[in-house]
Amino acid sequence: MSAVAQPAAPVLQLEGVGKDYVTQVLDRITLSLRPGEVLALTGENGAGKSTLSKIMAGLVEPTRGTLLLDGQPFAPRSRREAEDHGVRMVMQELSLVATLTVAENLALGSIPHGGLWRAGRIDRSALRQFAQQQLARMGLQDIDLDTPVGRLGIGTQQLIEIARNLRDSTRVLLLDEPTAMLTPRETQELFTQIRRLKAQGVAMVYVSHRLEELRAITDTMAILRDGQLVDWCPTASLSEAEVIERMVGRPVDQDENQPTRPAGARRLSVQGLGRGDVVRDVSLELHAGQIFGIAGLVGSGRTELLRLIFGADRADRGRVELYPDTGAPVVAEGGWRSPAAALAHGVGLVTEDRKAQGLLLPLPIRINATLSDTRAVARAGVLQTAQERARVADFVQRLRVRCQSQEQPVGQLSGGNQQKVVFARWMHRPCQVLLLDEPTRGVDVGARADIYAVMEQMCAQGCALLVVSSDLRELMAISDRIGVMCNGELASVFERGQWTEQSLLAAAFPDAAEPSEGHGQAASPTESRELP
C-alpha cells in the first residue's frame, strides 16, 4: 500500500473536470486528494456531488477535463476498470441484487471459484470467509450470509453496500451519502473504518448532508453550488453557518428548539399491532397538530411498523383506530386491508425506499407528484393537464426541486430532489395522518428547512405526523414526542424536554439496561415488554 510518508504527492487529481447533460451540471472542477486525506464533498441537492463522484469511479464519462491517478492520466471506462486501479465507490442509490445472498453480493464481480472459467464451482468456503471478513469490518457479524439481500431492510442493505467496498486494495474510496439511512451506532462503526483506512493511507471522498459528521471525520471540504466549486479549504476553517451559507447561497434558519405544539384531538391510536417478531405489539397514539418521532437502530422494525399501520403489510394482531374530525371513529382490525383503504380514510405514507417503492422512475416529475390523487387534477376522469402543471409548478418552487422542467423523468434527478418529489405527492393530497419514513433522506440543509416548514404547516392544519428518522438531531428538532424502537418493540416514549441524545441512544440498544437515566419514562399507556 502507498506510504503515508510524503503527504505531498496527491493520489487523485481532477483538472477542469465537467459534465453536461442537456444543461451543464458540472463546470470545470479542479481538486486533488492526498493519501490518507478525507475530503468532504458537500452542496445542495443537485449541485453535482454524485455526478462528480461517479466520474471519479468510472460510472460517468466527463464531458471535459482530465483525471490523474498517481500523476498518470486516468480515464476509467467502467466501474470495474476504476476498481482495478483501486478506486471504489459506495453509491447513493443501492445497487445490490435482491435474489442473491448476502455473501454473493459482497463478492459480486469476483466470486471466488475453482477451475473452468466462470462455469466453475463456487468456492463456498472462500466465499464465506471473504464475506465474513467484509461484514466484520462493519460490525455485522450477526447477518446470515445465506439470506437473500432482498429480505433485509434497506438500512441493512446500505451497510452491506458499504461493507462490500471496504477492501484492502482500495486507494481511493468514494462514499456518497453512506449514512443517510444509518443511525448513530452504525455511523460510528463506519467512522472507525474510515479512520482505519485513513491510517493505511487510503484517500476518501465523503458526501453527506449531515454537517456534524463532516466536521467529525473530514480533513478538507469542497463545496459545490450549481456545478461550481465555490470553496475548497480545511474543514476546521469554516463554521457550520458559513458552510451552509456557501452551499445554499442564503442563511438557513436552523432552529433546534421549537416549542412543543399544542396537542389537538386524538387522531390515530395503534393498539398491540404486531407481525411475527419484526414488530411486537406496538401501541401508540397520535394527536392532531403534533409530530410523533420514532428512533431506533437499523433493522429495529420502524419501517415495518409504518407499513403495518398503512396496510402495506397485514398485521398478525392488533388494531388501528382513526378518529376523524367529524363522525364516528374508524376501527381497522389488523390494520387497513390495503393501502388504498388507508388512504381512503386519510392515512398516507412516505416510503423510505423511493427507488423501489416510491417513484415511477421513467415517468415525469409531474405525474409522480400528483400520483397520490390523480383525480384531483382530472374532471370526470379526464386529466386537466394545465391545472396539473400549475399545481406541480407550485410544489417544485416551494421545495426548490432542481430540474429542467416538470416533464423531466424523475429518474434523472439527483437523489435529494427525487425525495422532494415523493414528499410533494403528500402535499398534493392532504391527509389526516401522514406516516413519514426517512422523509429527509439525502435532502440538503436548505431543502430540509423547506420540508420542515411544510410539515409545520400540515400540523397547523390539524394533521398528525408520525416520522421515522435515523437522524437523531432531526428528530429532536421537530418532534413533540419521540418513541424509540428496539427489536421490534416500542421500548420507550419521551416527551419533548425529557430527552437527550444519550437517553435516546441508550433506549435504542437492545442490551442496554432499563432506560434508567431518568429522562425516559417507560412507554406510558402503550407499554408492551414481553421479551421472548
Binding site: A344, Q357, P364
Partner: protein, 328 residues
C-alpha cells in the same frame, strides 16, 4: 430487471399531433415496404390493394388495441385467438340454434368475450399468478369451448351480421372505421385519462402505485376484461367477413397481435406504449402479408422474409428512437 431509466423510457405523451417524430421510424418502414412491393408488382400500389388491406386489418387492429393496454401493465394475453373463435361460435350458435336476432347474438358474443377476459383477469389478480400462464390455460380451455359450441364444425352464419363488413365509404367496411375510431379513443384514454395514467403507472412500478394508495387490482381486471371484449369484437368482425364461424379461427393469432404491438414500440416489460404506434405496427404486418401473397412468394420464403422484416422493423424503430433521444 429495471434497466437504467434512459431518456427512451420517457417520451412525452404524444397525442395524435404531439410528437409526430415518435412514429417516424415506423412510417419509414411502412413506406419502404410499399415502395418495394410496388416496384415488384404493377398491381400492388392500387386502390384495390389498399381497400383489401383496410378490410383485412380490423380484427387484428382491434385486438392489438387491447393488447397494448395488456402489455403496458406488464401482462400478456395469449388467449385472444381462442376468445375470438368462441365469440364467433356463440354468435353463430345463437343465430342458428336459438333463433336469436343478429343484434342479440352479437351481444351474447360480446358477453362471452367479456367473461373470458374477466376470468383471465380475476384468476391472475386473486392468486397473483403470471398472466402468461393463466392466459395460456385459457388459450386451451376456451378453444375447447369453441369446439363444443360449434360442434367442431365451421358454422355458416349467412349475412345476419354482414353489415359489419359491408362497404361503408367507398369499398371500405364499417369495421375498418370502427377500428380507427377505437384506436383514436384508446390513445386518448391512455394519454389523457386518469385510468390511462394508472395503467402506465402499474406497468412501471406496481408496488409504488400500491403504496401511493392506488389499488392495482381493479385496474388490471378492467384491462383484461377490455381485452376479452375486444377479442370478441374481432371475432364478430371476422365472422361477418367470412360469413362463417370457424372453431379454428385465430389460432396462433396471439403471436401476430403481440408482434404488431411490439413492432409499434410497446415494451413487453410494461410501462411504455402507444396505441397509435400499435396501429402502425398492425399496418406493417398487414402490408407485408398482402405484399408477399400478391407476389406469390413460396411458403418457405414467405416465412423467412416475414421473420427478417419483423426484426428489421424493430431494429430500425429502435435505432431511430435512440438517435432522437440522444439529441435531447
Amino acid at each position: 430487471m429495471t434497466p437504467a431509466p434512459s431518456a427512451a423510457d420517457a417520451r412525452k405523451p404524444a397525442f395524435l399531433t404531439g410528437e409526430a417524430g415518435t412514429y417516424l421510424g415506423l412510417i419509414a418502414v411502412l413506406v419502404l415496404m410499399v415502395l418495394l412491393f410496388s416496384s415488384m408488382s404493377q398491381y400492388f400500389f392500387s386502390m384495390d390493394t389498399l381497400v383489401t388491406i383496410a378490410n383485412d386489418i380490423p380484427a387484428v387492429a382491434v385486438m392489438a388495441v387491447g393488447m397494448t393496454f395488456v402489455l403496458i401493465i406488464a401482462g400478456i394475453d395469449l388467449s385472444v385467438g381462442s376468445v375470438m373463435a368462441l365469440a364467433a361460435a356463440v354468435a353463430a350458435h345463437a343465430m342458428l340454434n336459438l333463433n336469436a336476432s343478429a343484434p342479440v347474438a352479437s351481444l351474447m358474443a360480446l358477453a362471452a368475450g367479456l367473461v373470458c377476459g374477466l376470468i383471465t383477469g380475476s384468476v391472475s389478480v386473486i392468486w397473483r399468478l403470471p398472466t402468461f400462464i393463466v392466459s395460456l390455460g385459457m388459450l386451451e380451455a376456451v378453444r375447447g369451448l369453441a369446439y363444443v359450441v360449434t360442434d367442431s364444425r365451421t358454422q355458416y352464419v349467412g349475412d345476419g351480421i354482414a353489415w359489419l363488413s359491408a362497404p361503408f365509404v367507398g369499398a371500405v367496411s364499417v369495421s375498418f372505421f370502427a377500428a380507427i375510431a377505437l384506436t383514436v379513443v384508446a390513445q386518448w384514454v391512455l394519454t389523457r385519462s386518469v385510468f390511462g395514467r394508472h395503467v402506465v403507472g402499474i406497468g412501471t412500478n406496481e408496488e409504488a402505485m400500491r403504496l401511493a394508495g392506488i389499488d392495482p387490482r381493479p385496474i388490471r381486471l378492467t384491462v383484461f376484461a377490455l381485452m376479452g371484449l375486444l377479442a370478441a369484437v374481432a371475432g364478430l368482425m371476422q365472422a361477418a367477413r367470412l360469413e362463417a364461424a370457424d372453431p379454428n379461427a385465430g389460432s396462433g393469432i396471439e403471436l401476430q397481435v403481440i408482434a404488431s404491438v411490439v413492432i409499434g414500440g410497446t415494451s413487453l416489460m410494461g410501462g411504455r406504449g402507444s396505441v397509435l404506434a400499435t396501429f402502425l405496427g398492425v399496418l406493417i404486418t398487414a402490408v407485408l402479408e398482402a405484399g408477399l401473397a400478391q407476389l406469390g412468394v413460396s411458403d418457405p420464403s414467405k416465412r423467412i422474409i416475414t421473420g427478417l422484416v419483423i426484426v428489421a422493423a424493430v431494429i430500425i424503430d429502435t435505432l431511430r428512437q435512440r438517435r432522437a433521444d440522444a439529441r435531447h
